[in-house]
Each structure stands twice: as structure tokens, then as C-alpha cells.
């Protein structure tokens, strides 16, 4: 499902001394089936943007199109419930929101609230726990006996059980160790590719942006300051440094090589690309020596 922002602005506590404009005339299009990464500093407006994706916030002005439904300031709250089912948000440290006495009940809670029968919800829980790579035998355990990484998967299964079409992920790997991080990111890529999810990822991990996203939105002071595929966005390293944003380690390394006089047709994004480029340089030099 696609989501479109048309000149969306959002102001917190308008007409009070605490008035604060968090989004300033944002326009963008998140394509159906895409993997979009949202990057920017704390305070850049990312969280406010994210909450517009399933109408947790309604724009102060402008329109958000979620699928076919237009959300404006005037939209009645009554009509929002079906939309929230279509866009699932996994908030930061989602395991903090686990509450039920068994994993199964926790996952089934959302669907039951949205009108599934207990049997249907239980079937969904069984399906979703497998989808996030955990064993069905965990369904009867307390979520609080699980490891941190397992708890996070259960929380994600709870969002998936709502059967959304768009999955919004706010720093989903924060606090996990390297192998846990990789597993979770792999899970999302699989969901995007096999279940045709549209994914929006908020992250500080530029390696993940380079490896998984096909569209990148850079935010600063409530505006979109750059947008495009990862290669286009990471092409200007100095501009990103200037904004105090990181670039993928391979891009940074190649940038340092450039300063020493090496030439790249385009800056690499991953270590495999960089290694290929360097190998080509060795080959060229070898041939020149013969």
C-alpha cells in the first residue's frame, strides 16, 4: 500500500507559548512494496512523520493519503480505526509493551481487539510466531522468561498479527547484539520480499540503509532535505558530514581514499563493492607493471 504526503505540516500545542512546528510542508511518496529508510537527528521530525503514517496524528494542514484514504485536519477520528490496522508501527524497544501472561495471548491481543474471534486470533498467533522465526512451543510461555531478542520478536509478531500492509519500524535493532541485529533485519527483508510488505525504517544505522533500503528520506528541522536511492543520497559525503549524519563505513573509507588521490567512478556503499573496486585497482596496477 502506498502512502503520499501532500504539503503536510504539523504543529504541537498551537496558539500556546509551547507552540512548536515539527513538520513543515512535507511532500513525498512512499511506493507500494518499497523499503524506505528515514534518517535524521533526534528532533528532526522523524517521530512526528512516523505518527502520520497511520493517522496517530492528523496534519495541521495538508493531506496524507494512506492507500485510498485521505487524512486531513478535518478527518473524523471515527474513520481511522481500519487504517490503523493497515499500517502497523513497531515502536522503539517494543518489548517494553509486552504485558500478557503468555506469548500467545500477547500476540492475539491486537486481532481480538479488532474483532477476531479468540480462535482466529489464536491461529494468527501460531502463524505469526513462526513468521518471526520462533517456535510454536513458546506460545504458552511467559514473554518475560524470554531473552531480549526473543521478546522483541514476540512484540513484532503482535504487530504482524494485525495483518498490516505497511510495517513502520522505529529503530528496530537498537540494543541488540550484532547477530541479533542481523537476524531482525533479515526478517524484515524477507517480509518485504515474500509477503509484499511496504516497509518504512527509522534508523541511525547507515549500514542497514545501504544494505536494505531502496529509498531514503533525509529529514532536518521538520523538512525533507534530501531524498532518493541510497547511492544518490550517500554520494555527497561532505554534505552529510556537514549535517552531522554518518555514511556507511565503506563509503567513508572510500571518501578517505579519495582524499589521498584515489579515484572512484561512484562511491561504494558496501564492503563487497569497495573490495571489488580495490581489487580492480590492484589488477590495473599489476597489468601496468608487466
Amino acid at each position: 500500500m502506498a502512502i503520499t504526503f501532500k504539503k503536510v505540516s504539523y504543529t504541537y500545542q498551537p496558539n500556546t507559548p509551547f507552540e512548536y512546528q515539527a513538520l513543515n510542508e512535507i511532500s513525498t511518496h512512499i511506493k507500494d512494496g518499497s523499503f524506505t529508510a528515514l534518517i535524521g537527528h533526534t528532533g528532526s521530525g522523524k517521530s512526528t512523520f512516523l505518527q502520520h503514517l497511520n493517522a496517530l496524528l492528523k496534519p495541521s494542514s495538508g493531506t496524507v493519503l494512506i492507500g485510498d484514504s485521505a487524512i486531513t485536519r478535518e478527518t473524523s477520528n471515527k474513520n481511522l480505526k481500519p487504517l490503523r490496522k493497515k499500517v502497523g508501527i513497531v515502536f522503539q524497544f517494543p518489548e517494553k509493551q509486552l504485558f500478557a501472561d503468555t506469548v500467545g495471548k500477547d500476540i492475539a491481543f491486537g486481532p481480538e481487539n479488532f474483532g477476531s474471534t479468540p480462535e482466529e486470533a489464536h491461529e494468527l498467533a501460531k502463524k505469526m510466531i513462526k513468521l518471526v522465526g520462533l517456535s510454536e512451543t513458546l506460545l504458552d510461555r511467559s514473554p518475560f522468561e524470554l531473552s531480549g531478542g526473543q521478546m522483541r520478536r514476540v512484540a513484532i509478531a503482535g504487530v504482524l498479527a494485525m495483518q498490516p500492509e505497511v510495517l513502520v519500524l522505529d529503530e528496530p535493532t537498537a540494543g541488540l547484539d550484532p547477530s541479533g541485529r542481523q537476524e531482525i533485519m533479515q526478517l524484515f527483508t524477507n517480509l518485504q520480499q515474500t509477503q509484499h510488505f511496504t516497509i518504512v525504517l527509522v534508523t541511525h544505522q547507515m549500514e542497514d540503509v545501504a544494505n536494505y533500503a531502496n529509498h531514503v528520506i533525509v529529514m532536518e528541522h521538520g523538512k525533507i532535505v534530501k531524498e532518493g536511492n541510497p547511492r544518490a543520497v550517500f554520494a555527497n559525503v561532505e554534505w552529510l558530514h556537514d549535517k552531522q549524519l554518518d555514511v556507511p563505513a565503506s563509503t567513508e573509507f572510500a571518501f578517505e581514499m579519495q582524499k589521498k588521490g584515489f579515484r572512484f567512478d561512484q562511491l561504494p556503499l558496501t564492503e563487497q563493492e569497495l573490495a571489488d573496486d580495490i581489487a580492480a585497482m590492484f589488477e590495473k596496477r599489476g597489468l601496468a607493471n608487466e
Binding site: P178, S179, H204, F253, M257, E271
Partner: protein, 278 residues
């Protein structure tokens, strides 16, 4: 050399039937050193940190901190020598404002009012948070909250600071802030630092790295030595520093790379030597 921490044959089980979380662990830490303990989640590293501060009642093995053996009678004496910073910035903010938070520990120790003022001032300036002294926690970023936690610890004048995954919930800017502050504190105050982490990038400033797996120390050495063993790190579910990953990628492309570890700058220099220098 003076050992400020001495751990001998420490073994701990959370319950009778479990695998031991710590299995016959022994090591020594030199006064003033920065030692990093790395391991994946569940390797036993937090259990180790908690044992050192007397938060876990272990039955087997001994821990001696600054000449004092840790036992029921001495636990408060040992704790007064150690300041701990935990993972979650929100869970360790107890004051209504930044300065109240930093003063909290001192007030509990019944330190005279004037001295509290002076120590709070000094601690806040060490972590560069003086300008924020009247702010409330919700007005601070995660990195700033962790710096306040660090100020609270410094105000108690510990000999040792233990960082238990203290940066893992922070964004990259917050993480750099904390690591920068720790480096400066070490230079100025000569505090011993024990950092527990799964982020290999955070161990570059350490004098020594202990690698923990399944409750055992499987490797000890300087960062250069540990980083060069990238197969071991990968096998244990840990990250390998970027320059080492690139080196491995080059080796699979039949390029001969230097045997010893070098950081990114060193690698760029080596490439320049090999490819561009006439």
C-alpha cells in the same frame, strides 16, 4: 603493578539446574587501566559486572577490589569504590532536576551541604553538563541523561567506573559524547574503567580486551591482538572492526594484506603505499 580488581575462580549459577552464567572466571585489572569485556547477549558479561558490585551473591570464587575482599560484611565498602552506569538512561534518573540527580548519592551519604555543592559543580563540569543543571530529565537527550548519570557517579569519587552496556540505547551522537567524556575522565582523574559491551567499535580505546563466551574468558589481549582474530569474533557472534572486515574481503579476492591489525587510517595508508606511491 598494582591490581585494583582481582577475580579468582568465580563461578555463578542463576538456578541449580542451569548452565553456569560464569564458569571459573579469573582475571586481574591494573589500577588506572581501561579494560573492555566483550561478548554477545547471554555470554555472562552483565553477570560479571553485577558480581563485582556485590549485586549478585556468588558462592564460589573470590573478588578483591582495591585490597578489600568482597563479602557480606564488606559489600558497602566495595560499592563505595565502584560507580556503575547501566544501559537504560531513563531507569537511572532519580532527581527532579539534573543537579538534584547528581547530588542524590551524596545526600544519602550525609555529605555536608557545601561539599555537595562543590562536588556537584565539579562533576557537572567534567561531563560538560553545567549549563543544564536546572533542566528536568524529559528535556534531555539519551546521551545527556547518561552524562548526568556519569556525573552522579563521579561525584561519589569512585576508583572504578563500570559501564554496563551504557551506550547501547543511544544514537551515534550520544554514543560519541559518552565515549569522549570517559576518555577525558581517565586522563584527568586516572579512574579505572571497565566497559562491558557488544559494540566492538567501543573497545578501540581500551588497554585490554577480555572476550567472554558461555561464562568463560576465551581470549585476552590488546585491541590489536583481538581484532586480528576476526574468525573468533565472528564465531562468537560479535562484530569485527571495519578495517578487518575489508581486509578479509580483499583476501578472498587474492590480495595480500598486512598480517597485523591496522585501523582505517592505517589501511588507507597501506593502500596508498601499495597502489599510488611511486
Amino acid at each position: 603493578m598494582n591490581h585494583i580488581i582481582k577475580v579468582s575462580h568465580l563461578t555463578y549459577k542463576y538456578s541449580q539446574n542451569d548452565q553456569p552464567a560464569l564458569n571459573d572466571v579469573s582475571f586481574e585489572i591494573t589500577d588506572g587501566a581501561w579494560v573492555a569485556i566483550v561478548g554477545h547477549n547471554g555470554s555472562g558479561k552483565s553477570t560479571l559486572a553485577h558480581s563485582l558490585d556485590g549485586l549478585i551473591d556468588f558462592k564460589q570464587g573470590t573478588i578483591v577490589v582495591d585490597g578489600v575482599e568482597l563479602n557480606e560484611a564488606n559489600v558497602w565498602k566495595v560499592r563505595s569504590k565502584i560507580g556503575m552506569i547501566f544501559q537504560n538512561p531513563d531507569n537511572q534518573f532519580v532527581g527532579a532536576t539534573v543537579e538534584d540527580d547528581v547530588a542524590f548519592g551524596l545526600e544519602n551519604m550525609a555529605v555536608p551541604h557545601e561539599e555537595i555543592q562543590a562536588r556537584v559543580d565539579s562533576a557537572l563540569s567534567q561531563v560538560q553538563m553545567s549549563a543544564f543543571r536546572h533542566k528536568q530529565p524529559e528535556q534531555l537527550s539519551g546521551g545527556q541523561k547518561q552524562r548526568v548519570a556519569l556525573a552522579g557517579v563521579i561525584a561519589m569519587q569512585p576508583k572504578i567506573i563500570i559501564l554496563d552496556e551504557a551506550t547501547s540505547m543511544l544514537d551515534p551522537i550520544g554514543r560519541r559524547e559518552i565515549l569522549g567524556v570517559i576518555k577525558r575522565l581517565r586522563q584527568r582523574l586516572g579512574i579505572t574503567v571497565l566497559s562491558i559491551t557488544h559494540e566492538i567499535d567501543e573497545t578501540t580505546s581500551a588497554d585490554e580486551i577480555l572476550v567472554l563466551n558461555d561464562g568463560k574468558i576465551v581470549e585476552t589481549g590488546t585491541p590489536e591482538v583481538i581484532y586480528a582474530h576476526s574468525e573468533l569474533l565472528l564465531q562468537l557472534g560479535l562484530d569485527v572492526p571495519y578495517s578487518q572486515r575489508l581486509k578479509t574481503a580483499l583476501q578472498t579476492r587474492n590480495i595480500h594484506t598486512p598480517k597485523t591489525y591496522s585501523d582505517e587510517k592505517g589501511m588507507v595508508d597501506w593502500l596508498w603505499q601499495s597502489l599510488l606511491k611511486r
